[in-house]
C-alpha cells in the first residue's frame, strides 16, 4: 500500500489533517504527519520527514504532501523514483490520496487521484 507523509510548517496542522484523512480514507492507510520543527516550533524538519517516510514505507512507494514554502523544499530533498511529491491543496489532496491508497491503487494512480483534487470546485 502507498504511504502518505504530510509535511506542514505546523505540527498540529499536519497531525489533524492526518487524523481526518485516516477517518475518511481508512485506518489501514500508512499515513504519517511531519509538521513543525523537532522542538515543536513552526517550521519544517528534514529529520522528522525522513523518519515519517520510513514509518509509512511498505515498499509500494510514498507520496509527500507539503503545505507551502520550506515544506516544499524539504520534500524535494527526499524526492526520488519511489518517493514523489504531490502538488496539491493540502487538505483535499490528502483526502484524495488517502482514499485511493486505501483501495490499494499503485503509486502513479494515487498521485493522479490526489492531483485531480486541484480541479475540484467547492461551489
Amino acid at each position: 500500500m502507498v504511504g502518505i507523509v504530510l509535511i506542514s510548517h505546523s505540527g498540529p496542522l499536519a497531525a489533524e489533517v492526518a487524523a481526518l484523512a485516516a477517518q475518511i480514507g481508512g485506518e489501514n492507510v500508512p499515513l504519517a504527519a511531519a509538521g513543525g520543527t523537532e522542538d515543536g516550533g513552526l517550521g519544517t524538519s528534514p529529520g522528522l520527514v525522513e523518519a515519517a517516510i520510513e514509518e509509512v514505507d511498505r515498499g509500494d512507494g510514498v507520496i509527500l504532501i507539503p503545505d507551502l514554502g520550506s515544506s516544499v523544499l524539504t520534500a524535494r530533498l527526499f524526492a526520488g523514483p519511489d518517493v514523489v511529491i504531490a502538488d496539491v491543496p493540502f487538505v483535499e489532496g490528502t483526502i484524495a490520496a488517502a482514499v485511493s491508497a486505501g483501495s490499494d491503487m499503485p503509486l502513479k494512480d494515487v498521485l493522479a487521484a490526489a492531483e485531480e483534487a486541484r480541479t475540484f470546485r467547492k461551489l
Partner: protein, 208 residues
C-alpha cells in the same frame, strides 16, 4: 584557499549571522514570517560544535558537513537551500588542496544549480539568487581580467550587496513573500541579504 581558509570563512559567517540576526529577522517580518535571522543563527550556531569536534581536513568534507548541519537545524526554507549549496560546493571542491578563484567560481555555480533545483528561482524573482548570481558573475569577470584573489573576492562581495539592495523594488514570485503580491515591493529580500553577508564574510577572511 585551503581547508583552513574555508573553515575561517565558515567561522566568520557564524559570527556575522549572529550579529545580524535581528536585522535579517526584521527584513523577513516585512515579507515573510519573521524567522530568517533566528533560523539562520540556529543553523550556523549548530555548525560550530560540529566543526570543533572533528575539523575535516579537506574543503569538500568541511563544506559537506556544513551543508548537512544547516539542512538539519535551520527549520525554514533557507536550510535546504543553503545546505544544498554548501553540499554541492563540497562535492566540486573535494580534496583540492589549494582552491583557485576559478575553481571557487565552478563550485559556486554548482551551489547555485543545487539551489535552483530545489527552489526553481531565477533572477528577478526577489530571492537569494538575486545576490548570488551577480556575485558569481563578478568573480568570473575578475578571473577573466586576471585580477588578484583578494580584489576578485572584494568585487564579488560588492556585487552580492548591490544585488541584495536591487531586490527592494522587485515583486516576489517565489517563496512565502510571493503570497503578498504587490505588498512585497519596497522591501529587501531577507535571503538576498543573508547571501550578501556570506560574501562579506568571505571578503573579511580574504583580506586578513
Amino acid at each position: 584557499m585551503n581547508a583552513a581558509f574555508f573553515a575561517s570563512w565558515i567561522e566568520e559567517i557564524i559570527r556575522t549571522v549572529h550579529v545580524e540576526r535581528d536585522r535579517l529577522t526584521r527584513l523577513d517580518a516585512a515579507v515573510g514570517d519573521a524567522d530568517h535571522g533566528a533560523n539562520l543563527d540556529r543553523g550556523f550556531a549548530a555548525v560550530a560544535p560540529v566543526l570543533a569536534a572533528k575539523q575535516p581536513d579537506t574543503t569538500g568534507a568541511l563544506l559537506k558537513q556544513v551543508g548537512d548541519t544547516l539542512i538539519r537545524n535551520v527549520g525554514g526554507a533557507s536550510g535546504p537551500l543553503y545546505g544544498m549549496a554548501f553540499r554541492e560546493m563540497g562535492k566540486v571542491l573535494g580534496d583540492t588542496p589549494d582552491v583557485s578563484v576559478a575553481e571557487l567560481c565552478t563550485a559556486l555555480r554548482a551551489g547555485l544549480a543545487g539551489i535552483q533545483k530545489l527552489g526553481a528561482a531565477v533572477e528577478g524573482d526577489k530571492t537569494l539568487v538575486d545576490a548570488l548570481i551577480p556575485a558569481i558573475r563578478a568573480l568570473e569577470q575578475a578571473v577573466r581580467d586576471g585580477v588578484k584573489q583578494q580584489e576578485a573576492i572584494a568585487a564579488a562581495a560588492a556585487a552580492a550587496l548591490a544585488g541584495a539592495e536591487a531586490t527592494i523594488p522587485m515583486l516576489a514570485r517565489k517563496g512565502r513573500a510571493s503570497y503578498l503580491g504587490p505588498r512585497s515591493v519596497g522591501h529587501e529580500d531577507p535571503g538576498a541579504a543573508s547571501t550578501a553577508l556570506i560574501f562579506a564574510a568571505l571578503n573579511t577572511v580574504a583580506t586578513r
